[in-house]
């Protein structure tokens, strides 16, 4: 791990209640990060998201993300807006044929677990429409 500053594009998903905490303030003050917010939706009493660039050393970014995760905030490094809720997904596999890029795919034949690879998602939103369990949502 180098101490050279690097920039990561991140997306933070906030659960219902954490939106009022001054997380960004702490990222800057306690973890020495340069923060550039692109897009945000933070409404009290609702789920919210932040799309941002953070610049700092890898170590500081790692520590900052550990801090962010203590608020039950989901951190997503691909900046993609489509989220698959692990708790809600039943791994039925119904969404797979509708996903054009195989971002949703079977992880292995024996367990038949359905994996989601954010990096491959093109945000076509097909899975959001078809998932019978409401497991896929989009932040935007």
């Amino acid at each position: 791990m180098t101490s050279e500053p690097v920039t990561h594009k991140l997306m933070l998903h906030f659960p219902k209640c954490e939106c009022e905490k001054p997380i960004i303030y702490h990222l800057v003050k306690d973890y020495d990060l340069v923060v550039n917010v692109f897009r945000a939706k933070v409404t009290p009493e609702e789920e919210g998201y932040l799309v941002l660039d953070v610049t700092g050393t890898e170590a500081d970014i790692d520590r900052a993300m550990d801090y962010v995760k203590t608020f039950n905030v989901q951190v997503n490094f691909t900046g993609k807006g489509v989220i698959r809720d692990e708790e809600k997904c039943t791994h039925c596999g119904y969404c797979i044929p509708y996903c054009p890029t195989k971002a949703l795919h079977l992880s292995d034949d024996a367990s038949r677990e359905v994996a989601y690879n954010e990096a491959d998602c093109i945000e076509c939103l097909a899975c959001i429409r078809v998932c019978p369990y409401g497991a896929c949502t989009s932040a935007f």
Binding site: H91, C92, Y94, C95, P97, L106, R112, R129, V130, Y133
Partner: protein
């Protein structure tokens, strides 16, 4: 040869040999059928998928003053009140009041009976609104209150039809997208959906109903429930393969269990876009290995189980009885089947992953001595076919 008593004794002493229906075939191939039949006590089977014929009876206890509910809604979902004063039946497919359904197709059906059942079991606080015409003994005429499952006297799941032995593979031969209880089907046979745990499914492992019958104790979403009757549309008389495995619908089970003992991850409301609401429930059924024949039938593999590919744009709704093709679950699970020389992508509505989890949970419960097996008090009928409705113009 073993008896239920012998198997239960071994379960009680923590010595029972239990395998899942996913493991048993390789085990028998290795050990030989007769040796394995001596050794293995129980094979666990399971399924997790949407089953519309589901619901529950709830008893609220009495308000002060008392009410004889004549209409009632839980979270704006209508429940049936044609029972005693504070008893209701909540059906899985009931829509929420004001849901536009398919007025602007395809409807989304985000919340309904199945979701109320899911929320109840998850321990959420729900709203009850009830009306009454008022009587001398039950004077209250309107009631709004908030409750959780713990406030209820009884919350009993009663699913008239579960665990379909086998099922159709749905496809759409028309030129426009259709929305069905088998999911969204793209035009010109672009995709197909199936709904069965195949080689792990309870009635496919006991195809002739040797051990599963009325009274069989089952694992119902984590609770110990039981089979209370043959399921609705149970039709044991059907076409079968040489091994006795039905090549279409066939048998079903009617199940009941205490919702207060259930685990929320195994009871899930389902929204089918353009179709409606349903409920997915996890069921595990133990099969006692009383003899080698019973064991042999639990060794069924996906490649030996055939399902009928049916056109849901015409043949299913118009009840023509036409089947395009039989395909095996092995083919279905590969994610691709061939229809008229064309490759068709396949998706599943039933979760094999969850079914496997349930089969293992049940196996562990039996190994720990926490789940005893019961012999059926009556068998499921084998020779009854499914009737169609007779539509009469005059009485």
């Amino acid at each position: 040869m073993k008896t239920y008593e012998q198997i239960n004794d071994r379960i009680e002493s923590g010595k029972a040999v239990v395998l899942t229906a996913d493991e048993i075939m390789d085990y028998v191939d290795k050990k030989g059928l007769d040796a394995a039949a001596e050794e293995v006590d129980v094979v666990t089977t399971a399924t997790f998928g949407p089953m519309c014929s589901s619901g529950c009876f709830l008893n609220f206890g009495h308000s002060k003053p008392k009410i004889r509910m004549s209409e009632a809604w839980i979270e704006d979902v209508l429940v049936y009140t044609g029972l005693a004063a504070v008893d209701v039946y909540l059906g899985a497919t009931q829509l929420r009041h004001g849901d536009p359904a398919n007025m602007y197709p395809p409807g989304e059906f985000r919340y309904g009976g199945g979701h109320v059942i899911e929320d109840l079991i998850a321990g959420k606080t729900l709203q009850l609104f009830a009306l009454s015409y008022g009587t001398d003994c039950y004077p209250l005429r309107e009631l709004r209150t908030y409750f959780t499952i713990n406030d209820l006297n009884q919350a009993t799941m009663v699913n008239p039809r579960n665990c379909y032995q086998n099922y159709n593979v749905a496809i759409n031969c028309s030129d426009k997208t259709i929305y069905t209880y088998m999911g969204q089907l793209e035009p010109n046979c672009k995709n197909a959906n199936y709904c069965s745990a195949g080689q792990l499914s309870p009635l496919l492992n006991d195809p002739l109903y040797d051990t599963i019958g009325v009274g069989t104790r089952v694992w119902l979403a984590g609770a110990q429930g039981h089979v209370y009757a043959e399921g609705t549309q149970h039709a044991g008389a059907c076409e079968r393969t040489e091994g006795g495995v039905p090549t279409g619908g066939a048998g079903t089970l009617a199940l009941t269990g205490d919702m207060k003992q259930m685990q929320p991850e195994f009871v899930r409301g389902v929204s089918f876009r353009g179709y409606g609401i349903s409920l997915a429930v996890g069921v595990g059924v133990p099969i006692p290995i009383l003899n080698a024949d019973i064991l042999k039938r639990t060794c069924v593999r996906d490649r030996d189980i055939l399902a009928p590919v049916t056109d849901y744009s015409h043949d299913y709704p118009q009840k023509t009885g036409k089947i395009l093709k039989q395909v095996s679950y092995e083919q279905l699970r590969s994610g691709e089947i061939e229809i008229d020389g064309k490759k068709v992508n396949v998706g599943s509505l039933s979760s094999y992953y969850k079914a496997l989890e349930i089969a293992n949970l049940l196996a562990d419960e039996i190994r720990r001595g926490d789940f005893q097996l019961t012999a059926p008090i009556a068998p499921l009928p084998k020779n009854v076919p499914m009737k169609s409705m007779i539509q009469r113009a005059k009485p």
